[in-house]
């Protein structure tokens, strides 16, 4: 892949955005419960533009209590990285999937093998939050060769020059972290979310999605005012952990979809 040619994930998100739609990317922890694949289908049917699939790690330092619990429960149920990816092979949802995981799973599996496994499961993108720019090369070589788009995160404390480099290296979209902190539901969207979105939009034409603490349809609308869209994780996983069905989660995603479409 050359720098200029967007991959399937970026192309899809760009076309949706350019058609005037705000992007909605919900998250599900792979292997969580018996119905996680149906959750992906329900989310997609409810208007998700892509789905982020978490591949759980034993020590998720970027995650708050909800995703920690979801990860642990998935692992306790016997989930493995390649098992989760294998399950995705049979899934046909019509929107791109993005894997989210931590670097040791990639490293232990092997960069090339992991990248090829993503491709084999038709996973278009990867988010590996503990691989910053300085440590990116080993993974991105393998990912680029396999056609996997590596999404990079930008944080409120990222200085301007570094922000530009992150946007340049990021594939698929740019993930703007709304707040200094870990993942998790919050009462209100941080003021830093709008600032983050504006700063990113000022330096990149790639789709800009805001995540961390986007917990309600109102938050989604607020975050998408400056950004191209939002990522929603803990609010959905909290309900799944509490026993919600795929239909329940689909309904919540549909609410967010409707709110975003209404602007």
């Amino acid at each position: 892949m050359t720098d200029d040619a967007p991959g399937a994930l970026e192309a899809h998100l760009r076309s949706q955005r350019d058609a005037g739609r705000k992007l909605l990317v919900p998250y599900v922890t792979g292997g969580l419960g018996e119905h996680w694949l149906e959750v992906i289908e329900a989310m997609t049917a409810a208007g998700a533009d892509a789905v982020e699939v978490g591949i759980p790690f034993s020590d998720p330092v970027m995650d708050g209590p909800t995703i920690q619990e979801a990860s642990q429960r998935s692992l306790d149920g016997g989930a493995t990285p390649l098992g989760i990816l294998g399950s995705l092979e049979g899934l046909h949802v019509g929107v791109p999937l993005v894997a989210m995981t931590y670097y040791n799973l990639v490293f232990r599996t092997g960069h090339r093998r992991f990248a090829r496994s993503l491709t084999a499961s038709r996973v278009a993108g990867a988010i590996v939050p503990d691989v910053p720019l300085e440590e990116l090369d080993d993974w991105s070589r393998a990912a680029d060769d396999a056609g996997v788009e590596t999404v990079l995160l930008a944080a409120p404390v990222t200085p301007d020059d570094r922000l530009a480099r992150i946007c340049e290296r990021s594939r698929g979209f740019v993930y703007g972290v709304s707040v200094m902190g870990i993942t998790g539901e919050r009462q209100s969207l941080a003021e830093s979310a709008a600032v983050m979105a504006k700063r990113l939009k000022a330096v990149t034409d790639k789709p800009v999605l805001i995540g961390f603490g986007v917990s309600t349809p109102a938050h989604a609308v607020e975050a998408a005012a400056e950004a191209d869209g939002v990522i929603v994780a803990s609010a959905l996983m909290r309900r799944l952990l509490d026993g919600a069905s795929p239909e329940d989660l689909g309904a919540l995603v549909a609410e967010m979809r409707a709110a975003l479409d209404a602007g």
Partner: protein, 386 residues
């Protein structure tokens, strides 16, 4: 031991695998430490505090009765005699000075046995800083005395209920706090682990152990160095500090890991808590839990420089079982009148087992770092020995 590469690599190991939110803070810390460590005034201040508040330099004790028993000459570097009872104070004083220099008034730390937590709480009390210590629930239980000490020193101890509820999980929780608080908070990491610059910085702040010991050994051994230098290794900070003083000598360096947490001995390359090193993990890369009676060594990873020293063949890493550690603790108590912490008892256990074999031939001289004293473990050992 030399400086790591600018990205914090010791050979294949090290680096800074942290979320973007922490990158500016790691870079700021690297600049702050690099600048401070190049200034004589900073060294003077650091050494003065350690002298006036922590009792440095610590002596080297010629362990004559133990030596007679084992047939090798054992010298003990007495970090157990420092204020707060372990080598942890050396690192913490340096980092507290740096935190103040960077204008950060809140300090967080993780602790396993509680020694690093107590040291951090002590330095924060001295410097008038807010202190929060994360500690796994299992360790809160088995190191109740240190929990109380931290509270007396004005620190808040937050028990961690996730994962294995030990040191690994305390580090996870400290990192999560730091991601949210990094602009006002310094993370005072207690070992030679974590993202760059920690493994390098903590080793430099602990090298006072090895630098002192080298000079002291030369005085005792008529100008020569010991044949062997032995220290216990969990994350590996007392070993790194000790080895730093001897890496340029002919001494053989031996790190003793707990058998149930031998990351160098039984682990594979992996990345956790910000650096690439040796790591106990399953085939998928999920981090394994370590199991040892010693809370201070109960960690599935190890500092990246140890992984490098092992790969380069400059240091050897061996393991000690819980049972022989308890025996070693009692052996040192009755032969030398020193009750060591369970952590350095691992180092003594290996010396006791290896003495007279080809690993540690009869008549050798061996320096062992007594990284801490056994008061904190008295209750636990009493329960085990009955």
């Amino acid at each position: 031991m030399s400086e790591p590469s600018p990205g914090g690599r010791f050979g294949d190991y090290g680096g800074a695998f942290v979320p973007e939110s922490l990158i500016p803070a790691c870079q700021e810390l690297d600049r702050a430490f690099r600048s401070a460590w190049g200034e004589q005034a900073f060294h003077d201040q650091y050494e003065q505090i350690l002298e006036e508040h922590a009792g440095r330099p610590t002596p080297v004790t010629d362990a004559t009765r133990l030596s007679e028993r084992l047939g090798v000459r054992v010298l003990l570097k007495r970090e157990d005699l420092t204020h707060t009872g372990s080598h942890k104070i050396n690192n913490v004083v340096g980092q507290a000075l740096l935190a103040r220099r960077m204008g950060k008034h809140r300090v967080i730390a993780e602790t396993g046995a509680g020694q690093h937590g107590v040291a951090t709480a002590t330095a924060c009390a001295m410097f008038g800083m807010e202190c929060v210590v994360y500690m796994g629930e299992v360790d809160v239980e088995r190191q109740a005395l240190n929990v109380f000490r931290m509270k007396l020193l004005g620190a808040e101890v937050r028990p961690v209920a996730s994962g294995s509820r030990t040191l690994k999980d305390a580090i996870n929780e400290a990192l999560r706090d730091w991601v949210a608080s990094v602009e006002s908070t310094h993370y005072c990491l207690g070992s030679v682990t974590g993202p760059h610059p920690y493994p390098w910085m903590v080793r430099e702040l602990q090298r006072i152990v090895g630098d002192e010991a080298r000079e002291q050994c030369r005085r005792i051994l008529d100008g020569t160095d010991p044949d062997y230098v032995v220290a216990c290794v969990g994350g590996g900070s007392n070993a790194a500090g000790t080895f730093a003083g001897f890496v340029d000598t002919l001494a053989r360096l031996v790190g003793v890991e707990p058998a149930g947490g031998a990351a160098v001995g039984r682990g594979l390359p992996g990345v956790v808590h910000g650096s690439r090193s040796m790591l106990l993990q399953d085939e998928h890369g999920q981090v394994s839990e370590s199991h040892t009676i010693s809370a201070g060594l109960d960690y599935p990873g190890v500092g990246p420089e140890h992984a490098h020293l092992a790969a380069a063949g400059r240091a050897t890493y061996v393991a000690a079982e819980d049972g022989e550690v308890l025996d070693a603790l009692q052996l040192l108590a009755v032969t030398e009148g020193i009750i060591p912490a369970l952590e350095p008892a691992h180092a003594v256990a290996w010396v006791a087992r290896a003495a007279g074999t080809e690993d540690l031939p009869e008549g050798s001289t061996v320096l062992v770092t007594m990284s801490g004293r056994g008061d904190k473990d008295a209750q636990q050992v009493m329960d085990i020995l009955g």
